[in-house]
């Protein structure tokens, strides 16, 4: 009986070297592939993931394909553990070189729940989460989150269904209510919406098509809000179709040392109903390259444009914002660009670029362990945000985006949190500051998922 190593890092080669060399190329036939331990999961779903094991020609192949099949079963998100057993065939129809492969699986519980309390920003809230993985047996997932706070309540219900046999093609249906407060614009926003999202890969790219219907309610955060923001208060309905294409060849999401990311997103609102009517385009590009001595040079470029359709002015909730510890560092949060009485109104076009040099901490403390979570970085950020008059030509637009560029430089320390988020503590020197921008020169702290 052979049990391939369950830890994928361990090389197969060491195990195999124990064998007689001729046996490696001994032809085998996989006669049966079984899955044991199924409860509510439907077998036809798993057939696709494990079918490739039948094509193995020799023992090494069987082990490799069984390992890949195990990874595929785990990525469905419906099993806690998967173990693989390879044994010689038994039974009446057993061939002399026949093998039986058995996957022993342990299904995730039918219902998992979580309960947290959160305190922050003068508000306390209670968050309840419920998850039903593998609801009907084909890796569907239903998630419900409810947050009850002293000021606002919000909730979200989400249903995820992958295509059997093709997990990367999946459909997600959402229903949600979220509230947000934006002190830089003295604005508060409540969104109640439904959305349907379809993901599918095409070659190396992954695509997402989404329809979203949102009832947006905007209001002033304080009585002292500027009149420009007060004019945007009220209700509107946005019904939008969007498409996102992304290619990600980076070797890590947080501190990549090689590879590139390109993400392009289009959104068209108004042709499927609703009040909001616009076409929005934005892109994100990041390139990484390892240099001498474990340092990494990273360049990123963001940009976007919003075209209102049918002459309706754009809404403050659709416009782009720039500035802050996650964007052009050295400036206040979203505090660049058009503003009225201290409230930032956003802009219809923007671009932002960053050049970073990441190095390990000087003298490398805690190397191989805790110290690897940190990096020092030296950065140069630049960007611009403005409104365009779409009557003028593209040349006038480029000129407008190129004048009055805000930029900043500095250095700091970055900490990785898990594989999703990072914290930064930087010393920034903002330059090219225009009147109306709010700066944060000196030490700036930032936490988030997406950084320039």
């Amino acid at each position: 009986m052979i049990r391939p190593p369950s830890d994928p890092q361990e090389p197969h080669v060491a195990l195999v070297e124990e064998w007689n060399a001729s046996e490696q190329h001994h032809k085998v036939v996989v006669q049966h592939v079984n899955i044991q331990g199924l409860g509510r999961t439907k077998e036809d779903l798993l057939g696709y993931e494990i079918s490739d094991v039948f094509n193995a020609k020799n023992l090494i192949d069987v082990m490799k394909k069984a390992h890949i099949a195990r990874q595929r079963l785990l990525r469905l998100g419906i099993f806690k553990e998967v173990e693989v057993l390879i044994d010689t065939s038994e039974g009446a129809d057993a061939l002399p070189n026949g093998l039986d492969v058995t996957f022993e699986v342990n299904e995730i519980k039918r219902l998992t729940g979580s309960y947290n309390t959160m305190v922050g920003n003068n508000e306390g809230s209670m968050v309840l989460g419920l998850k039903l993985p593998n609801m009907i047996g084909r890796a569907e997932k239903l998630t419900f989150q409810f947050s009850y706070g002293t000021k606002e309540t919000s909730y979200g219900l989400s249903f995820f269904k992958p295509q059997p046999g093709y997990f990367e093609r999946n459909l997600t249906l959402n229903m949600y209510k979220v509230t947000g407060q934006f002190p830089w614009s003295s604005l508060k926003e409540t969104d109640r919406g439904v959305s349907a999202e379809f993901n599918f890969p095409v070659g190396p790219t992954s695509h997402m098509l989404k329809w979203e219907g949102v009832w947006r309610e905007l209001g002033c955060l304080a009585r002292s809000a500027s009149f420009a923001v007060r004019e945007e208060s009220g209700h509107s309905l946005k019904s939008a179709l969007s498409h996102t294409m992304s290619i990600d060849s980076r070797n890590s999401a947080i501190f990549p040392s090689s590879g590139a990311l390109l993400r392009i997103n289009q959104e068209l609102a108004g042709f499927t109903g609703g009040d909001a009517s616009f076409f929005k385009e934005d892109f994100e590009l990041q390139l990484n390259r390892r240099l001498f001595w474990d340092s990494v040079l990273s360049a990123s470029l963001w940009g976007g444009m919003l075209f209102p359709i049918e002459g309706k002015p754009s809404c403050i909730a659709d416009r782009f914002y720039l500035g802050g510890p996650t964007s052009v560092r050295g400036f206040g949060m979203y505090s660049i660009g058009p503003q009225s009485e201290g409230d930032y109104l956003g802009g219809e076009a923007y671009w932002a670029g960053g050049l970073h040099l990441y190095t390990p901490l000087p003298f490398r403390p805690g190397r191989g362990g805790f110290g690897d979570l940190f990096r020092t970085h030296f950065f140069l950020n630049a960007g611009n945000l403005c409104n365009l008059n779409y009557g003028e030509g593209p040349r006038a637009h480029l000129q407008k985006l190129a004048e009055c560029i805000r930029w900043s430089y500095g250095a700091g320390i970055v900490l990785r949190l898990g594989n999703i988020a990072r914290l930064e503590l930087n010393y920034c020197i903002p330059m090219g500051v225009q009147s109306g921008d709010r700066i944060c020169d000196g030490v700036q702290f930032g936490a988030g998922i997406r950084f320039l």
Binding site: E231, S233, H235, S236, L237, D275
Partner: protein, 260 residues
């Protein structure tokens, strides 16, 4: 607002004279009729008051005027960089700028004026809200459709129903929840009788036009000129001839003369 904040705002208001570009915001009126009876009455009352004071104001219609207002009520004025809504606070605001109509009254008369203004607000305004949001015929034929005009489906229905529930809750809170439409018409008649008796044969309620005249004119004139599902309300008001001539007089003095 706390007393200290009120005093501060009054001081800020007093600092600047009334500008030329003061604007009054109300819901859409005209081609895309969104404005309802009660809002139209309140807006006309404020416009009349400002004309009586001789303060210029430009009327701007916005579909989201109700949400722009700091108190959620129509109308509101944008003067300089201050925003004030509803007749009461607007009277205070203009007083801080040195314009007042009721300065010539003594304390007894001023108390009487306040009492009658309360009567109009509690009776006439509540009756208008009741008729347009709690009377099934009016709600389904006129109000819901008008209220949701600027929005697309299904938002127009959602907002109209939401507002209807809110007004119904308010009616229950003030004890009008169980009334029938006929009882409300009776209340309107009684209110008009009280106003008619007070007015008598005088041109205005007091020796000079005051904010009470503006308020009464705003409500009565709007009732007389708005088409509802039936003419019951109109007839009740029309039966008091001195109130009719009062409305005509104010209209001629402050509205028609300005146009010429």
């Amino acid at each position: 607002m706390s007393l200290a904040a009120e005093a501060f705002v009054s001081q800020m208001a007093a600092a600047e004279p009334w500008p030329e570009n003061a604007t009054l915001y109300q819901p859409l009126k005209g081609e895309e009729d969104q404005i309802l009876l009660s809002d139209s009455a309140s807006s006309l009352a404020v416009q009349t008051y400002l004309r009586m004071c001789g303060l210029p104001v430009q009327v701007v219609c916005r579909p989201n005027a109700e949400y722009m207002s700091p108190s959620g009520k129509i109308p509101f004025i944008h003067v300089g960089n201050q925003v004030v809504s509803e007749l009461g606070p607007i009277v205070q605001f203009s007083k801080a700028k040195g314009h007042s109509l009721s300065d010539g009254l003594d304390d007894v008369q001023r108390a009487e004026m306040k009492a009658y203004m309360e009567l109009v607000n509690n009776m006439l305004l509540t009756a208008e809200l009741f008729i347009q949001w709690c009377d099934e015929a009016t709600v389904s034929q006129i109000t819901r459709h008008r209220y949701g005009t600027p929005y697309s489906w299904p938002l127009n229905l959602i907002l109209a129903y939401q507002k209807q529930w809110e007004v119904r809750r308010k009616m229950n809170a003030v004890g009008w929840g169980g009334k029938t439409v006929d009882q409300v018409y009776e209340d309107v008649s009684q209110c008009c009788q009280a106003l008619s008796q007070r007015l008598g044969t005088q041109p205005y309620f007091f020796k000079i036009p005051t904010e009470l005249d503006a308020l009464v004119f705003g409500h009565l004139f709007t009732i007389l000129t708005t088409q509802l599902t039936n003419t019951e309300l109109l007839e009740r008001v029309r039966s008091y001839s001195n109130l009719l001539s009062f409305c005509r007089r104010i209209e001629q003095t402050y509205f028609e003369s300005k146009d010429s």
